[in-house]
Symmetry: C2
Subunit: 218 residues, 2 copies
């Protein structure tokens, strides 16, 4: 073969970029603490020294990997969703992007894994993830609010709360899929999630009260 490949099929790209891609791959699978510098180096087809030539230490490698992934995802979503005028279609587009992303490469699993691990072990990194999630919710909030102002969505729901549940549904579907890809079809699961969410947002305001009030009392 002309270009060497590592054990999991991805071609080994040389240089700093290749090391970063390999590091993302390793961090996704084994976490930060579970990934040794040696493992990354071996998987990238270089030695440890090459890593320390391009990155100050293991933590900086992690930072650059995280920033790369967050930036790539956000710019991708923005590029795909911004031209869409209909808020409902925008929401569905986001869900589809996440589903596709989860099903093919596992770039979003990288974010989830490192996010959970960083919670108590890396304050600054955890702050990065927190800001990312806040931007994500804010983006949805604006979509929902614009839908409300144009009369597409009902006005008696809080856009912030709605954004929380929508983002939560995406995250939860991903978690379930990563854990059990054979039982969970993340695409159809998220499609149902969007259906349900839009049905709730477009139903007449008085129809819900009748339905849920009965179960509300403790």
């Amino acid at each position: 073969m002309a270009t060497p490949a590592n054990g999991r099929g991805r071609r080994i790209e040389p240089g700093k970029g290749g090391i970063l891609l390999t590091a993302i791959d390793c961090f996704t699978r084994h976490g930060y603490a579970g990934t040794s510098i040696d493992r990354i180096a071996r998987a990238a087809g270089v030695t440890k020294g090459a890593l320390y030539y391009h990155f100050r230490d293991k933590e900086q490698l992690l930072f650059e990997a995280v920033k790369e992934r967050i930036g790539a995802f956000e710019s991708y979503v923005l590029g795909k969703v911004e031209p869409i005028a209909d808020p409902a279609k925008s929401l569905r587009a986001i869900a589809r992007i996440c589903a596709e992303n989860a099903a093919t490469d596992n770039h979003r699993r990288f974010i989830l894994t490192l996010m959970v691990e960083a919670l108590d072990t890396n304050v600054t990194l955890s702050g990065e993830f927190r800001e990312m999630l806040r931007r994500f919710r804010s983006f949805h909030r604006h979509l929902i609010r614009s839908g409300q102002e144009s009369g597409l969505f009902r006005n008696d729901v809080d856009a912030s709360a709605a954004a929380e549940t929508f983002v939560g549904g995406i995250l939860g579907a991903e978690v379930q899929f990563y854990q059990d890809p054979e039982a969970i079809d993340v695409r159809s699961s998220l499609e149902t999630h969007v259906d349900q969410f839009l049905a709730w947002l477009t139903m007449p305001p008085d129809a819900q009260r009748r339905a849920t009030q009965s179960a509300r009392e403790v």
Copy 2:
């Protein structure tokens, strides 16, 4: 002080049980790979010798911790939900249990953390988590189906798909809360999730088609 306490306030219980509780605490915060045997021992107020007296190795300690947590959560949910007759109230009760659990102790964060970490690093443990999630979804599926049979819920939605989105919403709300407890009120967030879910399940079947079909085409 009569009873000694570790740095984070929890009382140090002696013996195997205390070690197990401390281990759960450490694994939750630092993950499995990020937690050393010494750290657990120090936090539990013992030395490594005590750990290796009660547990064969680090992995067995992890297994027992996971089994303990899964078992405790499932039996708690079952005990609380089983006496409830109304499926809608049962669903709300489960969501409230999870919210309370996430907000007070972080026993469910332990499960989430280890679940994500075990995905590619521990096949048998990951299988344990997979079975747990399957049981959880199955439990919801039966609740939903019983609601459909009694005419409470509409019949034109797949109970399995509905269970997926409901469980997903719970998991996603938890993830967002762990990441940003100041911005996310997990209790009200899950309350909205249940409202939305029940509104969707109890709305007239033809009302949704009108609402969502417009955004469905790509």
